[in-house]
Symmetry: C2
Subunit: 433 residues, 2 copies
């Protein structure tokens, strides 16, 4: 049974605290193994990657077969059903349109002293995208990672995807092609992350690595961080639905289950201002769990981490939402726009009852790679910004240096950095001499 909470009950606060701090994931400690794998790939390059792939994926590669050839991709893509292709193309177009609007602009101005200041955005030159194999090999995630990179202007985008026993999801290859990916390698695990970060004889190193993965991949990303940039380390998925009584309990139940079915560690929470509606949703969840394909997973998630919270009013709902800082937040209330202005900390907000979260997973346009585990308090979902960096620009004229230089000399002196000060003094001496 999920947790049932009510803000009017005396023990609400400790129970809510317990919900907030519940540990949903036991990551195995694979750091030592991962460190060895990375060192091995750094030292031996292709040879190490090929051995590790034979061992973990039961696949014999050669340097020549590490990457999918254009013909390999053609062959796989030709198996994709038309309905899947059309759906994936619609998703790609909508994701591209959304992310194109995110591109920031360069900016420059001349201030009162005559100094010209500003900044310039530029793309990382090369990015690597990790795509999990097996159950979690989602073509939608390929689009969500690759399209922002290409929109940002990344010149070279490489994918690594493990193909255990040689099995590959053709939709993943189609998604990569639709997104404009340049290279696709049949490798996975920590060895793929090491190959992307440090390069091998066949794989050139990249500057930034994004994409989800298992504990080995996550540990490897943490280890190569600094050598290359990485995106967030995502935890299990979460949804918070705030709904009033004017909703169909079955719709809300399905929205809660659409997170729960991802993973036994996923978390689905309903906040409502109507206790009877909360009960109706709980009943609808149980009913759907009788037949849902992934009922074992979804049922475990709902039982272990689900919650239904009854609140006095929607202001209280917003306050609790801000403490949860959910990855996904659905506002199924009569004025979702008004409520959204009060729900400050959230990765993505879905407004109104005709915006189920699943739309955002596929075809809404915004990214579905979002901050989990309360990190929406301080971080954002994936975007073109993850593939751009900003260079600041300053051009000081002799006249501007006369105005602002003396303060720099003074501060350099107070920080005992003599050469800093002298670099200004030498110039001012010429100007004043």
């Amino acid at each position: 049974m999920p947790v049932l909470l009510d803000t009017t009950s005396a023990d609400f606060e400790p129970a809510f605290q317990a919900l907030l701090s519940a540990k949903r994931e036991d990551s195995p400690d694979v750091d030592a193994t991962v460190a060895q794998i990375i060192e091995d790939v750094r030292a031996r390059g292709n040879a190490a990657v090929i051995e590790l792939t034979a061992k973990f994926d039961r696949l014999e590669l050669t340097p020549g077969s590490m990457a999918f050839s254009a013909a390999d991709i053609d062959a796989a893509v030709s198996q994709v059903a038309d309905a899947d292709r059309v759906a994936l193309e619609l998703a790609a177009a909508r994701i591209r349109a959304y992310h194109e609007k995110q591109m920031p602009e360069d900016y420059q101005w001349t201030d009162a002293t005559g100094a010209t200041l500003g900044w310039r955005w530029s793309a990382v030159s090369a990015a690597g995208l990790y795509v999990p194999g097996g159950l979690a090999s989602y073509p939608s995630s390929v689009l969500m990672n690759a399209i922002p990179a290409k929109v940002a202007g990344v010149e070279r985008l490489a994918i690594t995807v493990p193909t255990p026993d040689g099995q590959v999801n053709p939709l993943v290859l189609l998604a990569a092609r639709l997104a404009g990916v340049d290279e696709i390698y049949r490798i996975g695990g920590a060895q793929a992350i090491a190959a992307l970060a440090y390069g091998t004889e066949t794989i050139s190193p990249v500057d930034k690595i994004t994409g989800p993965g298992n504990a080995f991949v996550a540990a490897a990303k943490r280890r190569v961080f600094g050598k290359v940039g990485i995106d967030m380390i995502a935890g299990p998925s979460e949804i918070l639905v705030i709904a009033d009584k004017d909703n169909d309990p079955d719709w809300i139940a399905l929205d809660l289950l659409s997170q729960a079915e991802h993973d036994e560690s996923a978390q689905s929470i309903l906040i409502t201002d109507d206790a009877a509606f909360g009960q109706a949703v709980s009943q609808a969840v149980e009913k759907r769990l009788e037949t849902l394909q992934r009922r074992a997973i979804a049922g475990a998630s709902w039982r272990d981490f689900g919650a239904v919270i009854t609140v006095r009013d929607l202001d209280e709902a917003a306050a609790l939402s801000n403490r949860i800082a959910p990855e996904h937040l659905e506002l199924c209330v009569s004025d979702p726009v008004a409520l959204s202005k009060k729900t400050i900390h959230a990765g993505a907000i879905f407004l109104g009852q005709y915006t189920p979260e699943a739309i955002g997973d596929y075809v809404g346009g915004p990214n579905h790679v979002l901050p989990t585990a309360r990190s929406a308090r301080f971080s954002s979902g994936l975007s073109v910004m993850d593939f751009l960096k900003r260079t600041t620009l300053s051009q000081v004229t002799p006249e501007a240096l006369r105005v602002i230089g003396p303060a720099a000399e003074q501060l350099a002196q107070s920080e005992s950095l003599e050469a800093h000060g002298l670099s200004v003094t030498a110039r001012l001496n010429r100007l004043n001499g």
Copy 2:
């Protein structure tokens, strides 16, 4: 002697590779110690922080004296000389003006299907800023970290600054006051990072921690990353100067030394298209090193990590600069704007011979917290963006759901996520029923 390289020589490439991959910093492995300190602060709160401060800083605190009182700050600030105050105020005003222009705008639009999409920026609620004690206690760094946070709209900004034997730099307190910092604590090291991340009876936890520190602070920031956001882990400072022969060798020498004097691990590199000018700069460096206050530090940095590279032309200089991806890049050439368009990867660019890098450290306006160790390939300097996060917004109308819903159903099916599809189907059934 610094390394002397020439792109026309046969062994240039391996020598340049060696320069790029030279390890400049040996970080002691303090991770186990830091893990213990963090656990201790989590378990015992104030008591642990007070014990560790007595041990490391030889300072006896009570819960009541952990924070500087307004009177403490008044007393310290009153000691600051007028010249220092005026300089710091000018710096603060210029840094604030620059960072105010960085504030991104919310954006929303309605697409052809009738769906409303967009995003919204919001500030993290609480941020913590680590300020080192002793030699590296720079008031300018307080401004560079605190002002972007306050411009972003951070409601609560706390500083921790160790005060060994009770000693504090009054300019640090003045800088904090000018920047609008809300709380200042007399604590440092890993225990300060732990207190900011997890909170104690006296210190409320924050959502984001920024600011430089020693190996203990860096290890602690890595460990609390995920629980809170952190900024980059900065390495030793670097400068690359690209200069033609129409420069005063002494000015360029001082610019190189103004990085070298920071730290024996700092790196200063000159690239020039005129070998004789390179020699003149080297001689000017040696001359300045005879008298510079910090000549021991600057001399070691220049000897161990300095380099003078002669190139055929400025295009070659730009190509090498992009491989170095320097933290600071000075372009002392006749057309710096043109050259800046070719130097893509750099944290900050200083254009023209009247823009010494030291101006950027203090009064230029752009941030001086910048990506080091080639990370300008994929990351940016500190900005208001570090204290903001983006929430994506989607509102789908019934009509829009009819258009885009079926593709979501299709993709959910192909990913075997039945509840995802059903959450859309249930709504479409109502609309079509």
